[in-house]
């Protein structure tokens, strides 16, 4: 086939010619690998910013009477901290970041289905982030990341800015979901049937429809909030016939699936890291794969468990409680399969593996408190207390963020060709793990004792534990700073890793690090699962990848 036929006909967009100018190559790139790295860098920048907000919260809570910032400013800080961590850090990192970089490589594709759309999705992300953070200049949102009306209707202009920013990042997320879904369904290498896909790809496949469907529902809720704030059209204001509960339904119909948008790709990362460093086939491949889909489907039917105390009719409480318990089953299947993968394996305690094992412990803990919170009587007692804060930090930081760290140590050599330093990596893990538990474990009992969340001052009897938490949060922050230092130094000075430093078996490790622009000289054929460590690699057509043989004709054109 001639080059002209490929580009003239508009088909096969994914084999686009390699751009030569710096701007088209690294700034407005349509290459999924560059876009993935752009997402990761931007996400980490926002991680630093919202981490600083978190430390402001902890410094304020050092003393029962507060004193660092005013009460209004405190509201702004935790609202932006929560919004930024969810929409600007975790979701873009696990889907746009690792999803973009790793998924096309793992399915043997040269790019995602719509590379140009991918670039558009990425560039909405920093713009939305700047909008969210610049809302501080005009009075940031104050009603928490959930922005319940009527408070969000009464707050200053920053809340409208928040609506616009989250709407924009939502559009980005929807487009990424469409892009990934088409890519995974249609662009797998020959022979890669559904039950031969790596588990990270399965996780992205389960996540993409969530990003696509749930985020659009959020867009509707945000549009209505924006319209009501700007034009006075009543949706949520009870004095004009609207309903604040309506917002909660629409918001949680998105935000509960969003919890799985944040955790499913992290599950995928863990499912790659554990077998590689146990040198053992993953236990229960199909169960792990299908349970992701089960979680994604069930995730749409449990949103009202966030609303037990909002006046939800009692006959609705029971089904939502039971359905939420049911989600524990596929999640438990995953946990047990991962533990069985470790069982009898030859475990290599690399930094990546430490984070994966830490993930297992912390996510399981957070999952169990989630089951407790789903029980209506218990939820009535602890709703709106620090118990809830402890729960979601265990699943989002102990779960998703630990997964992100595991993935960073694991795929950094593929992105840069160099390894991250193992000593500093382990130090990062231990500081982070100890600091994290020290910060969030005491919140469980503070919550049960009745310390409410989202307050700048609190009962002096809780001061001792709060001071302990704040000090431990500095330890956690120190760990993260070591991580960033390690990351920056390793880009230039890390040990050379070669194509496959971990002896991993998925497709991305069979090509050079960093991969060529066109990823694969020849699209390989796939014959089996990538996890059977004792068998020969189940691919053919990769013979030329690590040699000097010429690139495919389509990729080298102008």
């Amino acid at each position: 086939m001639t080059v002209a036929a490929v580009h003239g006909g508009g088909i096969a967009d994914h084999i686009h010619p390699e751009p030569q100018s710096f701007i088209r190559r690294y700034i407005f790139s349509i290459d999924h690998k560059i876009i993935g790295i752009q997402y990761i860098i931007t996400g980490f920048v926002f991680l630093v910013l919202s981490g600083m907000l978190a430390e402001l919260i902890r410094v304020q809570l050092m003393h029962a009477n507060g004193g660092l910032v005013s009460n209004d400013t405190y509201n702004e800080i935790y609202s932006v901290h929560g919004s930024a961590m969810v929409w600007l850090v975790i979701i873009p990192l696990v889907t746009g970041g690792f999803g973009n970089f790793v998924m096309p490589l793992q399915i043997g594709a040269r790019d995602v289905a719509f590379p140009w759309l991918n670039m558009l999705s990425f560039w909405m992300f920093p713009v939305a982030g700047l909008m969210l953070f610049s809302s501080f200049l005009i009075g940031a949102p104050v009603a928490g990341w959930t922005e319940y009306p009527p408070m969000s209707l009464q707050a200053g202009p920053g809340t409208s800015m928040w609506c616009a920013a989250i709407f924009l990042i939502g559009v980005s997320s929807t487009l990424t979901g469409i892009n990934f879904l088409v890519t995974i369904l249609k662009m797998r290498a020959p022979g890669m049937t559904f039950t031969r896909m790596p588990l990270f790809v399965w996780a992205q496949l389960a996540t993409a429809p969530l990003s696509m469907v749930a985020t659009t529902a959020l867009a509707a809720a945000l549009a209505a909030l924006f319209i009501e704030r700007q034009f006075g059209v009543p949706f949520y204001d009870p004095t004009k016939g609207g309903s604040p509960i309506l917002w909660q339904h629409m918001f949680w119909f998105y935000s509960h699936p969003a919890v799985y948008i944040m955790i499913l790709p992290a599950f995928g990362i863990i499912s790659e890291v554990l077998p590689t460093f146990s040198r053992k086939p993953i236990f229960g491949y199909k169960m792990i794969a299908f349970s992701s889909v089960a979680i994604a489907l069930a995730g749409f039917m449990v949103w009202a468990h966030h609303m037990f105390t909002s006046g939800l009719a009692p006959f609705l409480q029971l089904p939502f409680m039971i359905l939420t318990f049911v989600i524990g089953v596929p999640t438990g299947i995953k946990i047990f399969s991962w533990m069985a993968t470790l069982w009898g394996g030859k475990i290599h305690f690399t930094s990546s593996m430490l984070f994966a094992i830490g993930f297992l412990a912390l996510f399981t803990f957070g999952g169990i408190t989630g089951i407790l919170l789903a029980a209506v009587p218990f939820d009535f007692h602890v709703h709106g207390t620090y118990f809830v804060v402890a729960h979601f930090h265990y699943v989002l930081v102990g779960g998703s963020l630990m997964g992100i760290f595991a993935g960073t140590y694991y795929w950094f050599p593929k992105m840069t060709g160099r390894l991250m330093n193992e000593f500093w990596g382990r130090l990062h893990f231990w500081l982070f793990f100890i600091g994290f538990n020290g910060t969030f474990l005491p919140m469980h009992w503070l919550g049960i004792l009745g310390m409410p969340r989202r307050v700048p001052v609190y009962d002096p009897q809780f001061q001792g534990w709060n001071q302990f938490e704040s000090i431990m949060s500095f330890v956690m922050t120190l760990g993260i700073l070591i991580f960033f230092a390690n990351l920056l130094v390793s880009i230039r000075n890390g040990k050379k890793g070669g194509a496959n430093p971990w002896n991993a078996r998925t497709l991305e490790w069979q090509i050079p690090s960093p991969p060529h622009y066109y990823n694969f000289k020849n699209i390989p054929a796939v014959y089996a699962l990538p996890y059977d460590f004792s068998e020969p690699l189940p691919y053919t057509g990769l013979e030329n990848e690590l040699t000097d043989s010429p690139a495919p004709a389509t990729a080298g054109a102008h």
Partner: protein, 207 residues
């Protein structure tokens, strides 16, 4: 890198695999369908909001507001559904190479779409000036009615321009008898707008 031979490995010509892989991939239709799915969700969320508010208020329409004019809206719906039919036959004629009929039917679709928009404009002005029902001033009735039908009207408006662009493109030879993705997408979009209107008409005018 050395790859041990698998017992089940076949000796495929990889140039051939590569070529097939590149040639069989026109994925725009898949992407466009998924975009329509996400648009359905957007409408569904607002429809959920409308039904939710409707069922928590005191009766519908709320006290002080008259029922909507079903007869006029039904007539206007016929115009829109008619445009769906002309759109369908426009694409069929394109596939069979009847360019003249295709162009005529496309013009008919665009005109009918514009007529629907004019009808909606007439309905809005009647509501506003005669019944004093407005977007922000009539409680949840005005909020839900104008937001949902306005969103739909905006989709029709975009569709009218989209079809106009497609018609101009096809006049300039962008599409061939074999390759006409834009026309397929335009048809799908137009049918999507029709189907949404079936739902909106039912829930606002009939129940």
């Amino acid at each position: 890198m050395a790859v041990a031979t698998l017992p089940h490995a076949q000796t495929a010509d990889h140039g051939e695999v590569d070529r097939l892989y590149a040639e069989t991939r026109d994925l725009r239709l898949n992407g466009f369908l998924l975009f329509l799915v996400s648009d359905v969700v957007l409408f569904s969320s607002f429809i959920f909001a409308y039904l939710y508010m409707r069922n928590t208020g005191q009766g519908w329409p709320p006290p002080g507001i008259n029922r909507l004019d079903v007869a006029f809206a039904a007539l206007n719906s016929v115009v829109l559904f008619g445009s769906g039919a002309t759109m369908h036959y426009a694409l069929e004629n394109w596939k069979h190479g009847n360019f003249g009929r295709y162009a005529g039917l496309m013009v008919a679709t665009i005109v009918l779409g514009a007529m629907f928009l004019c009808g909606q404009g007439y309905e809005y002005t009647t509501l506003y000036f005669r019944e004093h029902v407005s977007w922000a001033g009539s409680g949840i009735f005005g909020a839900s009615f104008f937001t949902l039908t306005g969103m739909h009207g905006f989709h029709v408006f975009v569709g009218v321009w989209y079809l106009t662009v497609l018609l101009l493109q096809s006049v300039h030879g962008v599409y061939t008898k074999q390759k006409y993705f834009g026309l397929t997408a335009g048809t799908l979009y137009w049918h999507f707008v029709d189907v949404i209107w079936v739902v909106l008409f039912s829930i606002f005018y009939l129940i």
